[in-house]
């Protein structure tokens, strides 16, 4: 028999082997900057995890939802009585049974004056607007019996016409998704005089790009466990946002906030898909209240593909006015954004997060942006890794490559002629953002060298020359992005429903160990490791003496959670700020005990010393002294702890240069990535291992959009890509190794000098890959391939081009 694993022992032992890499300059601290292996791994590699679906409680019931098979219909009758007679069934309900208490799922981002926020019942009552919308539910003693009983529910529908195409949805006479029509909002923004920039411009380029609908596909399916406890409820959910969820559930259900505890246990990835307040969370809570018993719901993958929010789905019309030498005068963007059937938590805000990024890394005189949000009868869209910024970056980076081709210039050279040069920072862009720091020259030079740009261009010329059926394409992407969501004032000015601060608490325990409480809610990002590194340096304590608590509103009562590459640049800095406050308190206590003036006490390496003497107290000694409280300064509370919040004054602007080489078979349409180089500048780095991991994973998702992924519907609005056999996320066999490197230009908007990294790879990669595909096919007259660039699409683009060309190529 296998010995029982001592998880604590494993954690201690792997921690002992984890001091990878040399410490940096001691003046900068021992931990920050070091490639520490993650302390989170111990439980994850041994299966000692706390996924929501693992939870089993006495008397727990299982919930299954009957879902609409129609994209658009009147729901005329739902009869659950036969289901109630099935074995193991405890209860069954229709939407009507909860009509009085289920409220409407919240939208926290009413972006404009004209925005239409339709009622969004968690369970449909009399109308369904997408395939998969819940119309009834069964509660049974196990998941198999709950699923069985769904088949006994009778639901009648009167079909209405599906609304699937955004352009058609906006045309006169289109069937209305909602009473108010199919337009959710319009949002306009401009900087400079676009008419002047486009008037008489020597070059004007017009392009239309389609951001296909994507399914975020976190590996852990969503799961909810709702438990009546005492006067209130505990809700466990595979969520990115336990704090926001608690507020929103209180507002939606009327259950008082102080009687609600929300826990995000181990969460298996999110990528925005778990930045949501879902029907299943609301109904789980209401079912637990109605039945007085714990209930669990775990989605299957196919249920999740149907019902967890999708991402992207925009049609972008971009126009670029330029001089003959490639200098950009101005950019115009007209965007259609598919909201799907309802506005969920931040649905309408997603395209706005891109609105400020269409000027990319470039200087220009004018910029004009219009976005129209459109309702269709598809599952709602919302945040997916990058949320608005990948779309914007794709459009401008694709357009700049097209401009280079139009002018016969090298795409890197066109970028050089337009980008903000290193001595121009801080730089206020035409979109009104002030980029605090950056060095596009350095990142690009490094990337070109690692890539072997000139050699690859020579090989490309050779292959073109000899009409090799397998052509080489080189794609460039010089991206930046705005992330680290915060600042609260700016979010407020954009009508966002909450702030962007983050909270941390740091407390010294009597034995000198340290607990860090964070409002961030990691689901793969490694905050337990990185926040421990920051704390260890700030307090001069061993890394191993720090633990990080998160993801439970009873433990961490304040927070804004994890999304938008905000955790380190807002939450990590809040940890540092709390440490500094603790040190101030400790210093006061040390001065008192050492009978010195506060100003004569200095701190180094975890010890407070009287300047110029060997008299000192370690921070651990002070923690015990505070706990004992035998000799404290007057008015000094007996504890060494502090809370802090951080709300930066600016967004974070990571940047970098990604280069992709593809080989495209012009006979079969097959595209293979030959090499990929990414040089990113994310400011100062707390943990290089974690940063590289974020970049590589981000690139894989960006490649997924470029080459593989698309949510496809049939003409009736049925999702055809409900399984992982149909919706293709890249496997190991689909991807190459990536060459990654960094340049480091510290951010000036936070004391750590850090920038966000969670979304950068995804934002950068998609245009790099598609630019490479188009570059390979350009000698054949191809100017675009719609995403995903599957062999069929590449082949069709070639065939179309040959047909247009009279078959001469």
């Amino acid at each position: 028999m296998t010995e029982q694993l001592d998880a604590g022992l494993v954690a201690r032992r792997i921690a002992g082997s984890d001091q990878v890499g040399e410490p940096r300059d001691p003046a900068e601290g021992r931990e920050v900057g070091r490639a520490r292996r993650r302390r989170e791994d111990a439980r994850l590699i041994t299966g000692r995890t706390r996924w929501t679906d693992n939870i089993q409680l006495p008397g727990m019931l299982h919930v299954a939802f009957l879902r609409s098979p129609m994209a658009h219909a009147r729901l005329t009758r739902v009869d659950v009585s036969a289901a109630l007679a099935m074995p193991g069934v405890v209860a069954a309900f229709s939407g009507r049974d909860f009509a009085g208490e289920q409220g409407s799922l919240p939208c926290a981002w009413p972006v404009s004056e004209d925005v239409v926020i339709p009622d969004h019942p968690p369970m449909a009552v009399d109308r369904v607007r997408y395939v998969g919308e819940a119309v009834a539910c069964v509660v049974a003693t196990d998941r198999y019996r709950a699923a069985d009983a769904l088949e006994a529910i009778e639901a009648d529908y009167e079909p209405l016409e599906a609304v699937l195409d955004m352009t058609e949805a906006l045309s006169d006479g289109a069937p209305a998704v909602h009473e108010a029509g199919n337009q959710a909002f319009t949002w306009r923004f401009s900087g400079g005089d676009a008419d002047a920039a486009f008037h008489d411009a020597p070059v004007v380029l017009d392009r239309t790009y389609v951001q296909q609908r994507l399914i975020p596909t976190a590996m852990e399916p969503r799961a909810v466990v709702a438990v009546p406890e005492g006067e209130g409820f505990t809700l466990y959910s595979a969520t990115q946002i336990p704090h926001i969820l608690r507020v929103m559930l209180a507002l939606t259900t009327g259950i008082p906030e102080h009687l609600l505890r929300v826990v995000a246990p181990d969460v298996g990835g999110g990528f925005g898909s778990k930045l949501q307040v879902t029907a299943e969370e609301v109904l789980g809570l209401l079912l637990a209240r109605r039945l007085g018993r714990p209930v669990k719901w775990t989605e299957s993958r196919s249920e999740g593909n149907l019902t967890a929010h999708h991402g992207r789905d925009q049609i972008q019309r971009i126009s670029v006015a330029a001089e003959r030498d490639g200098r950009i005068r101005g950019v115009r963007v007209d965007l259609l954004a598919d909201m799907g059937a309802y506005l969920m938590l931040v649905t309408p805000g997603v395209p706005l997060l891109g609105a400020f990024m269409y000027s990319g890394v470039y200087k220009m005189d004018a910029y004009d942006f219009t976005c129209t949000g459109v309702f269709t009868t598809k599952v709602p869209t919302d945040a997916y890794r990058g949320a608005g910024r990948p779309e914007a970056t794709f459009a401008i980076e694709r357009a700049v490559d097209e401009l280079a081709a139009e002018l016969g210039l090298d795409p890197v050279e066109v970028r050089r002629r337009n980008w903000i040069s290193r001595e121009e920072f801080p730089y206020t862009t035409v979109a009104g953002l002030t980029y605090d720091s950056g060095d596009y020259e350095a990142a690009t030079e490094r990337a070109l060298a690692l890539f072997g740009y000139d050699e690859l261009r020579a090989e490309q010329a050779d292959r073109r020359e000899r009409r090799d059926p397998v052509q080489l394409g080189i794609g460039v992407s010089t991206y930046t992005e705005m992330c680290g969501l915060a600042p609260s004032r700016v979010l407020g000015s954009l009508s966002y429903g909450a702030g962007g601060w983050e909270h941390a608490a740091v407390r010294l325990l009597p034995t000198g160990k340290v607990e860090v409480v964070t409002g961030t809610s990691p689901h793969g990002q490694g905050h337990e490791t990185s926040w421990s590194q920051i704390t260890a340096d700030a307090l001069g304590v061993p890394f191993e003496d720090v633990s990080v608590l998160h993801g439970d509103t009873a433990v961490s009562p304040r927070g804004m959670d994890t999304y938008g590459s905000r955790s380190l640049v807002v939450g990590g800095v809040a940890v540092l700020a709390a440490c500094e406050k603790v040190k101030e308190k400790a210093k006061r206590l040390a001065a008192h005990l050492l009978e010195a003036a506060d100003d004569d006490v200095e701190f180094a390496d975890g010890t407070f010393r009287v300047r110029g003497t060997d008299q000192g107290r370690t921070i651990q000694e002070l923690a015990l002294a505070a706990f004992a409280a035998h000799d404290l300064p007057d008015g000094f509370e007996p504890r060494l702890d502090a809370d802090a919040t951080f709300d930066p004054e600016n967004f974070s602007f990571p940047h970098g240069t990604h280069l992709c080489a593809v080989e495209a078979d012009t006979e079969t349409g097959r595209v293979a990535i030959r090499s990929y180089v990414a040089v990113d500048d994310v400011g100062r780095v707390v943990n290089p291992l974690i940063v590289e991991g974020q970049v590589r994973g981000g690139i894989a998702q960006g490649i997924g959009q470029a080459l593989f992924e698309e949510a496809v519907h049939d003409t009736g609005g049925n999702l055809l890509t409900t399984t992982m056999a149909d919706y293709l996320i890249p496997s190991a066999a689909d991807l190459p190794d990536f060459v990654t490197d960094r340049t480091e230009t510290p951010a000036t908007s936070n004391p750590l000098g850090v920038k966000g990294v969670g979304e950068a790879g995804t934002i950068a990669a998609t245009p790099a890959v598609v630019n490479a595909v188009v570059d390979a096919l350009r000698p054949h007259g191809v100017r675009d391939v719609p995403m995903p660039c599957t062999p069929e699409r590449v082949w069709r683009a070639l065939a179309r081009s040959r047909a247009n060309d009279g078959g001469t190529r």
Partner: protein
């Protein structure tokens, strides 16, 4: 209801099960072995991979009754005492996981892969793990981890970062060679 006898991570169980019960639900819901997660319902993602009589199997695609009389090893049965299996250790050392949801299946599939190819090339690892999906890492570090784990399991001890050739069996006790058998070496720092 049929009765199945199954050994899971060294413990013998006798359970009455519905014929339709999936092995993964037997493991998770009946036996409390929740270390093996479920990521899809079509056998594509591989998160639920276990060793069934020594070979990798997606436990969402096996009925509990089909496992009657079998020996099942899950990720929870790999380590012994405080000693990680070399493949678990390699995943940690190469930062081959982020959210960790695919990790149990990835580790089990990797161990099985090495039975057929004890020293796989990068290409062989990528092809061999095609049936296990990860959404976080981009796979680079997973590939390195599998090759690192392979070197450790074939006797090389803690052989540097991934990508370096194996064969530098620098002393140290030999690790366990059979898939699923915990290696003898500890995980403390060299």
């Amino acid at each position: 209801m049929p009765e199945v006898t199954v050994t899971v991570d060294g413990v013998a169980y006798e359970e009455e099960v519905e014929p339709r019960l999936l092995l993964v639900h037997l493991l998770r819901d009946r036996l409390g072995r929740t270390g093996t997660p479920i990521g899809c319902d079509t056998g594509n993602c591989g998160s639920c991979t276990v060793l069934l009589d020594g070979r990798s199997a997606k436990s969402c695609s096996v009925l509990a009754v089909q496992a009657d009389g079998s020996d099942v090893v899950t990720v929870e049965g790999l380590a012994s005492g405080g000693d990680l299996h070399p493949m678990q250790r390699a995943f940690h050392e190469e930062h081959a996981l982020q959210c960790g949801y695919c990790t149990p299946g990835m580790i089990m599939a990797a161990i099985d892969l090495l039975r057929d190819d004890p020293d796989p090339s990068e290409e062989a690892v990528r092809r061999g793990l095609e049936g296990n999906l990860c959404r976080c890492t981009g796979y680079c570090t997973i590939v390195r981890a599998v090759r690192r784990g392979a070197r450790a399991m074939s006797g090389g001890r803690d052989a540097g970062p991934g990508g370096e050739a194996g064969g530098e069996a620098a002393g140290g006790p030999a690790g366990g060679e059979a898939a699923g058998e915990p290696a003898g070496e500890g995980v403390a720092a060299p």
